[in-house]
Subunit: 417 residues, 2 copies
């Protein structure tokens, strides 16, 4: 199949749909979301059969157990996807929200109104649930979406998109609102990254390699997501029991996600008291430890950390540990190695808490809590399209409002300049 | 000079300065802005002498009269630049503004705070006043700035930057807060576009060619500015005297700017009444007219318009004119040829006004007013760094808040997940 022709055609259809969706009534969008949820459940046999083929092909190809797990669908996961659509239907519609209005001295009334972005491109990897989540969130926010999932999940994604687009069409949603790139040719991604005529934004969701490719090659504006080299700094004044629980949670509760801690920084003044039991607890939980020379003194399992460890996003049960002489040294370390995702301090010192919150440049800066809370649901957004690690447009967890832009609607009675 | 080494060095200095500027007190930023304004006036001789060399070199090189005009400084223009800095000092500081705070059920307090972007890159052309405007707005919003002006203005820009950075340094502003790329090698722009390690955003200001180069080649996030193919649609129900004044103002008051009208759309029902005097008025004002066959019937000076005319951003006393059968046809034309900058309808019909405002996808959508009002000062922002024609991050006139991002500051007492 000619992927360029496919992209051109889908881009045109998406743009036409986006014009209609921009003023689509909320209740009709919600009806469609419920219909899509019902259709997902009604279509479970076809979807699970397609998914079984993907999983079999994946095993044959030698995909890792973790990838196979992400790829695999079952009744529970399908039900969760359907439930996600119903929850999205229940969220407030961001479109049409007034963001302030001014009456200028010349009588012009200038109102700032929230409107959809237009056409959103999502490029992702093996998880078929992203297909449903992204389709639902884009529809609710009045955007058309073009989905490009990983080739490992192509059969699952085709089956899912067929089911949900049919349901959306039956609910009156314009054709072209939700589309999947059918070709699995890798060149299609490169072509999509240049589709400025039709795409208003591209959001990559996946590993560091995918995100790098998108950022480096896209001429369409990108919202960068994901990479998190997150730190927890245990200050000299910390409640050590609290610090231990926060550090343990930040590393161990779900090591494969971007808000997990990768490096633990410990103030020298309490290192000898805090680190021996902390390192033993990590070791007992199967965490591989890599530390500075000081840290190595406190537990025999600690291997020497190299420069690469301070830069690493392990996404695994591995932790880098460093003893810092001061808050300043911790701030320097975070400024140098952090990816501006989530950073935490554990302290009882008011001034140090205040300095950390003011001086650390990151999407989420915590005092006395686990970095694991950086998440759209935990923030109370009811949804999440990803976590932005860039500063433009959106930063941190992105909910429905982050899938919108604004326009100025200006009412006059003959004003000229 | 090795431009790559220069960029690396300036990027590092800017990043270090940005860390300090992020928490710089408002009163100190304002003092520095006033000192810079005073220094500009005190340094007039050196600046005007450098500018005279640029102007002479430009004339020798055969620059157009318009370009020479943009390049030329004099006492009035220097005074206006200084006044701009003083006005910026008078604007509210956007940094530290709270954008909402929630207390989560688990006791976490999540506050959304406005913070600087970090390091802003500005790439512009011949106008030396951009050097001062951009430096002032970036400083006020707590950002470090790296300026890359056109080679025609390099002597003027060097003289200006020397004067204002000295004044800023004397006022305690960290070194590296305001820097100019010294080399005029064009490759330096390409290198700047890949400076992701140090730049948080690049804002191009200038002609379509510059903007295209930046958008197509930058891996740093870009805020696209400028291109405006703006329309005015005169509806069947319009007050024709009001429509004539609005259309005339939109085209003639300043044809070289992006918010000027490029195409006039006229409803067929009033074309025979509206167009003959309107076209005569444009013709008398020296406007070259290019129209659809229908339009050509109403004035002998109207030349045939081609497809290229509907796409053209003339930035000149040239106007494309088209008779439309209906509001729908006008909306279709705008959707197809508009650049989503500024669009206007003149009408007395409530439903048509409402449909136009809802359905037109543009940064600024006007009813019964000239498109020329799309401007940071006219909107009451007191400043303007440019007009964004993209949908991500900022749309329409960009003031100080558009030079900021947010961070989440989260306060807990031991929360884990």
């Amino acid at each position: 199949m000619d992927y360029f022709a496919e992209l051109e055609e889908k881009g045109k259809a998406a743009k036409a749909a986006a014009r209609k969706l921009a003023t689509w009534p909320t209740d009709k969008k919600n009806q469609a979301l419920h219909a899509m949820a019902d259709a997902l459940e009604a279509g479970r046999e076809a979807i699970l059969a397609a998914n079984a083929l993907d999983v079999a092909a994946g095993r044959e190809k030698g995909l890792s157990a973790a990838l196979i797990d992400r790829l695999t669908l079952n009744d529970n996961r399908l039900a969760a996807m359907a439930e996600g659509l119903r929850q999205t239907a229940g969220l407030p519609d961001p479109i049409g929200e007034g963001l302030g209005s001014t009456l200028r001295p010349n009588g012009l009334q200038i109102a700032k109104i929230r409107v959809p972005l237009g056409v959103v491109g999502i490029i992702y990897e093996a998880r078929p649930n992203v297909t449903v989540d992204a389709a639902g969130l884009c529809l609710k926010s009045g955007n058309a979406v073009i989905l490009r999932g990983g080739s490992e999940a192509i059969r699952s994604n085709r089956a899912i998109v067929q089911v949900i687009t049919q349901a959306a069409a039956d609910a009156g949603i314009p054709e072209g609102a939700i589309q999947l790139i059918e070709t699995t040719d890798r060149q299609a991604v490169n072509a999509m990254l240049k589709l400025n005529a039709y795409l208003d934004v591209i959001i990559p969701r996946g590993g560091a390699g995918l995100i790098k490719t998108v950022v480096e090659n896209s001429t369409v504006p990108v919202i960068e997501t994901g990479t998190g080299v997150c730190h927890t700094f245990v200050d000299a004044s910390a409640d050590l029991a609290m610090a231990a629980d926060i550090a343990f949670n930040a590393k161990v509760s779900r090591p494969g996600v971007c808000n997990a801690m990768e490096t633990l920084l410990v103030h020298r003044a309490i290192a000898a008291k805090f680190l021996p039991p902390m390192l033993a607890r990590f070791h007992a939980a199967g965490v591989e430890l890599r530390g500075c020379p000081e840290t190595q003194r406190f537990h025999p399992a600690v291997k020497p950390a190299t420069e690469a460890d301070w830069e690493a996003e392990y996404l695994d049960l591995i932790l880098a540990v460093k003893v810092a002489d001061s808050l300043d040294e911790a701030l320097e370390h975070i400024a140098r190695y952090g990816t501006r995702h989530s950073e935490a301090i554990v302290t009882t010192d008011y001034n140090n808490a205040r300095r950390f919150q003011a001086e650390v440049d990151a999407a989420a800066v915590y005092v006395n809590a686990s970095t694991r809370f950086t998440d759209g649901f935990e923030f109370g957004y009811g949804a999440e399209i990803g976590i932005s690690t860039q500063k433009l447009h959106a930063r941190g967890p992105m909910g429905l409002p982050e899938l919108t832009t604004i326009k100025y609607v200006i009412s006059g009675n003959g004003q000229i300049r």
